[in-house]
Point group: none
Amino acid sequence: MQTFSPSHFESVEPGPRKEHKRQILSSALACFDEFGIEATTVEAIRTTANSSVGSIYHHFGNKEGLIAALFFAALDDRENLIRPRIRSAETSHAAIGHLIHSYLEWVTNKPELARFLSNARHSVANGPHSKDLTARNKQRFGDLQKWLALGVENGSILPLPKETYASLLIGPSENFCRAWLTGRVKGKPTDYADVFADAAWRAIASKNARRD
Amino acid sequence: MQTFSPSHFESVEPGPRKEHKRQILSSALACFDEFGIEATTVEAIRTTANSSVGSIYHHFGNKEGLIAALFFAALDDRENLIRPRIRSAETSHAAIGHLIHSYLEWVTNKPELARFLSNARHSVANGPHSKDLTARNKQRFGDLQKWLALGVENGSILPLPKETYASLLIGPSENFCRAWLTGRVKGKPTDYADVFADAAWRAIASKNARRD
Amino acid sequence: MQTFSPSHFESVEPGPRKEHKRQILSSALACFDEFGIEATTVEAIRTTANSSVGSIYHHFGNKEGLIAALFFAALDDRENLIRPRIRSAETSHAAIGHLIHSYLEWVTNKPELARFLSNARHSVANGPHSKDLTARNKQRFGDLQKWLALGVENGSILPLPKETYASLLIGPSENFCRAWLTGRVKGKPTDYADVFADAAWRAIASKNARRD
Amino acid sequence: MQTFSPSHFESVEPGPRKEHKRQILSSALACFDEFGIEATTVEAIRTTANSSVGSIYHHFGNKEGLIAALFFAALDDRENLIRPRIRSAETSHAAIGHLIHSYLEWVTNKPELARFLSNARHSVANGPHSKDLTARNKQRFGDLQKWLALGVENGSILPLPKETYASLLIGPSENFCRAWLTGRVKGKPTDYADVFADAAWRAIASKNARRD
DNA sequence: TATGAATGAGTTTTCATTCAT
DNA sequence: CATGAATGAAAACTCATTCAT
C-alpha cells in the first residue's frame, strides 16, 4: 500500500506536535483511495497509521469527523494552488486560463486527493459540516467574479445567467478529470490543458471578444 | 415518503407478472434517494415495498444486484429519451442541441433517477457489473460520433483530441445538474437548456462553422 | 452456571414457538444474577442461551429491551402468586397476612427473580418503559385498598396518610428480603413470615382493632 | 448542573490542602446523581471538577476507589447525624424515635447522598471494599442494641428474632424514602416522621409497653 | 415462489487507565 | 503533585444473507 507524504497537509496543521495527526490523515487518505470511503474501517486506518483507535477518536471525534478534516485539508491544498494563480492574472482571458490550467495540474499531481474530494463531497454535504462546505463553495469562484463582471461590462464576455458560468467554465475539465481518475480515459488532464482552457474561453466569450 | 411510479421501469420489465419486481425497484429508489445508497438497508426496502427479504434476494441476488438492476434501468430510461432525439437530427448542430436538451429534460423530470445514477456509478463500477457499465459507456455517444466526424471533415467542428469531445459537450450540463440535484443552485436545468446547448456548440465549433 | 427453568416465564409467552425467546430470558436471568446486570454482556447471554446476537436483538430490540421484558415477566410472576391470595381474603387482617406471606414466599422460592426485580428497577424506571412501570405500580396495591378503606371506616385500622400505608406494610419484609438476597442475613424470609405479618398488622391496626 | 457544597465531606477530609479532593468528590456526586453511577465517566467528573484525570487517579486509585470513598463519606455523614441523637436518648422508645426522625431528616436534607448510598451499595458490596462495608453494617445498629435488649428484658419490647428488629424498625422509613428519592411519592420524608416513628414503636412494642 | 426468523462476522465507538512530561 | 495525550480491550449493535417452511 502506497503511503502519502505528510507534506500534503502542511498547510492545515503546522508545527512538530501535529505529526501524529498528519500521519493519521495521510493513512486515511491512502485507505480511502484504495478501498473506498465507506469500505475503509477505522481499524484499517489505525493499522496503516501505526496509531490507536483511541488517538483517532481523540483527534477527530469519529469517522465522519476524520473525513471532514481530510476533505477541508484537500480543499485548502487545492485552493492554495489555484487562488494565487488567478490573482496573478491581468485579463479575464488569462484568469480563466489560469483557473483551468491550475485545476488540471492539481488533479494530475494529486489524484488521490482529487478522487477523495470527489467521493467525500456527499458525505460532508450530508453531515454536520455541511455549513462549512457551503461557506467554502461561495468563496470558490470569488476571485473570478470580478473578471467575469468586467468582461461582461466591456463586451468581451457573454451576458449569461449567473448560475451557469461556473458550470460552463469548469464543467468540461471536471468531467474529464473524473473520467481520468476512474480510469475511463488514459491521457492525463494536463495533456489537454490548452484544449480545455481554450474551450472554457469560447464557452463564455462573445464573438468579437478581444482576448483581454 | 414519496413513492415512485412503477412506470419508470416499464422498459425493463414489461408484463403484468413483474409488478412485484417493479415495486421493489421503486421502493429501493425511494430509499436510496432519501437515505443514501450505503445507508439504505435491505430491511428498509422490504418495508417500503411491502415485500419480504426473501423476495428481494430471489429477484436480485443481493443488494449489489439490486443496485445494478436499478442502475441499468435508469440508464435505459435515460437513453430511451436521448437516443431517438439524436437520431432524429439532420445536422451536427442539431444533434448536439438534441443531446443537451434531452439530457437536461431527463434530469429535470427524473431527479431521483438522475441522483441515483450519479451516486451509484462508483458502486457499479467496482462491482461485478463493471463490464456492462464499460460496454454501455462506449455506446453512449455512439450516435454522436458520426456527426462529430462529419463536422470535423467538413470543417464546421474543430479537430480536437477524441477523448475530450464528450467532456466538452456534456461537462457543463452535467456540472450544473449535479449542483441542482444537491440543492446548490435553484434554477431548473431546463431553464438553461439553450444556454448550455449554445455553449456546447461553441465549445467545439470552428470559427467559420455553418450550423449544419 | 445454574440455568433456570423456562417455566418461570410460562405466563408471559405461552405456545411452542416461543421456546427460543424463553430460553433467552432464562439465560439472561442467570447471567444477570451471576455477574450483575451492567456487567453482563449480550455475548454472555448469547453463549448461555446457545443463541445468536441477532436473535436477541430480533426479539428484544436491545439490551435495555431485554431487561424490561424480563422485568415485567418477573413482575407478572410475582403478582400471579400474590394477587389471588389477597383476593381470597375475607377480612382486612387476613388480606394483609396473605400479602406478607405470599410476598415472602415468592422471594424465598425465586430469589434470582427477586434479586433481578430489585436490581433492574432503576434501569427500567429510567428507560423507555418507565410508563409501563408507573402503570404497574398503581395496580400493585389495588386489591388491598378496599380492605384498608373498610378498616379505617370501621375503626380497626388507623387513619394514616395514604402515602404511608404501603411502606408501613411491606417495608419491613422488603428490607429483610433485600438483606437475605444479598447474603447479609441467613434465615429465609419464610422463616419469619409470621413475625412480619403480625408486625404489618400492628403497624396500621388501631388499639382496639378486632382482627377482621 | 447543581454543585454540592464541599462541606458535605468535611468530616472525612479536614484541612485546607484537601480542597481539591473534596471538589472531586462533590463533582462525582453531582455526576452520579445526574447520570447514574455506571453511566458517569471519569472524563465527566474531570470536567465538572475542573481537574485532570491524573489527579483523580492520584487521589482515588481508580473509579471504584472514588465510588468507595464517596460511599463511606456519605455513610459517615449520615452516622454523624444519627448516632449522637440515639446516644442522647434516655428510653428505648426515645431511642427509636430519634433513629427514625434523624434518618428521615438526613435523607430529606441530603437526597443526593441518600440516593447515591442506595445506588452504590451494590457496587461497593461487590468490590474490594466489601469488608469495610460489612464492618460498618455491624456497627450501624450497635447503639440501639442495648436499648432493645433492655426493652425485651423489662417486657416493653417483644422478644422477636434478632435478625428482624432492624427491618421492622427501619424498613417502612427506608421504603418510603426510596419512593421519595425516585419521585414515586411527593410528600417529604420528614412530613411523615411521626407516623413512621410511632409505627416503628408499635412494630416491636409489647401490648402493655410503658413508653420507656 | 414467497416468507421472515435466525445467523454471526464485522463495525463503530467508548472509556478506564497509564505514563511521559 | 498535576496534567492530558495516548492506549486498546471490550461492548453494543447492525445488517446482508441464508434457509426451513
